[in-house]
């Protein structure tokens, strides 16, 4: 009997994922209403529950894909994977106020530039403080602070050691999780309540998963504006990481 249930869940992976995510959403909305009187967004709770499940999944399997590493939950990997995530992000653009998005365009570009350079400086500074002195390692860890994709892409291009690459990826993933969980907490203090600031936020925070989760947990109407700028972030990071930023670090560190 248990094997038969397992067989169905594995065979119908995506369908099972709909049911699991539906249950998580239902539970989170109920918790939001009963325990916090609606003060904490149901989606914020759902994302934290999702991260918690990912932690449990990672502990149980020792894999890198959280809950999706368990065969019965493999459908979660498809539902929350890059393909459907990007598909849904593009769909949210249908709700964009094109006029306001164009007005805030320049702001988005400035935010993108700052959002690439500032995290890199922090990451590279921390790497130096912890005794990494070669330009390749410092650049790779700095790039990891941009996003968890920029880190390994930069590291691979420069030939960083695998330990440094792992550190860069972990930094990027930690950043994404922090952005997801932290955004609803600080939104009020940083004025994140309108399309303009959402575009600045997307460019500055960068990490698409972090921005997608953070805005969903804060205010869904801001999602497309943040995503619009955030989706350029990784590409720009991968462009300047192994080139301009590396040359800058090499000139300083020698």
């Amino acid at each position: 009997m248990p094997q038969m249930i397992q067989h169905v869940l594995v065979e119908q992976g995506l369908v099972a994922a709909f049911a699991v995510v539906g249950a998580v959403m239902w539970l989170s909305l109920a918790l939001s209403r009963r325990l916090t009187a609606g003060r904490v967004h149901g989606s914020a709770i759902a994302i934290v529950v999702g991260l918690g499940l990912a932690y449990v999944g990672g502990l149980v399997t020792g894999g890198q894909k959280g809950l999706a590493d368990l065969p019965v939950f493999a459908g979660i990997g498809l539902l929350g994977g890059a393909m459907l995530r990007d598909f849904a992000i593009v769909a949210t653009a249908f709700e964009v106020d094109a006029i306001e998005a164009r007005r805030a365009g320049l702001l988005g570009v400035v935010a993108l530039a700052l959002g690439t350079v500032l995290p890199f400086l922090v990451g590279a500074g921390v790497a130096l403080a912890f005794g990494y002195t070669d330009a390749v390692s410092v650049t790779t860890i700095g790039a990891g602070a941009i996003t968890y994709i920029v880190g390994p892409v930069t590291g691979a291009a420069l030939g960083a050691s695998s330990a440094v690459m792992a550190l860069a990826i972990a930094t990027g993933v930690f950043k994404a999780v922090l952005v997801m969980v932290g955004t609803p907490l600080v939104a009020r203090f940083i004025g994140l309540d309108n399309p303009r600031s959402a575009m600045a936020y997307g460019g500055l925070m960068g990490t698409v998963s972090g921005v997608a989760g953070g805005l969903a947990a804060t205010d869904p109407k801001l999602v497309p504006y943040g995503a619009l700028t955030a989706t350029f972030h990784t590409g720009i990071g991968c462009l300047v990481g192994p080139s301009v930023l590396y040359l800058g670090v090499r000139a300083l560190v020698g």
């Binding site: 992000i89 949210t92 925070m205 989706t231 590409g235």
Partner: protein, 166 residues
Amino acid sequence: MTVFGVALLAVCTLVGVFIGDLLGVALGVKANVGGVGIAMMMLIAARVWLVRRGVLSHGIKLGIEFWATMYIPIVVAMAAQQNVVAAVRGGPVVLIAGLGAVSLCFACVALIGRLGGRRELPADEVAGIERGGYVIAGDTPPDLVVPAGSPAPAVADRAVPSVGGA
């Protein structure tokens, strides 16, 4: 037809991601450069074009907005497959670099958001933005909810048609 909306969304996504890949190759980067953002701009342009020609049918809207309403569940599934264990066990470099980068960027959002001051948006734009929020939150916008007992509005005004697709 609902599938026209889904297909439009799919074509925008595919073309956008392809252009992003091309840009990556042109710039010599091993990554997609802004593919999803380009796809989003194409979809925004497509909507403007459809509205201007008066051919934005209920089916097209339903096909695209269904995926917008699925956005949060998909993000929850995304959260459930992050490598949280690695993030938690990262050690001091990961902790300090992550916290430092994120707090600095949050502070910048506060600064940049205030650049140029706050502008009041026209009422119709605000209404459009709020409506988008309801859709992305996975809800029916309040002006589209049918009050109990009142005659049902034309199918084209409803968020979810009673029978099949349009």
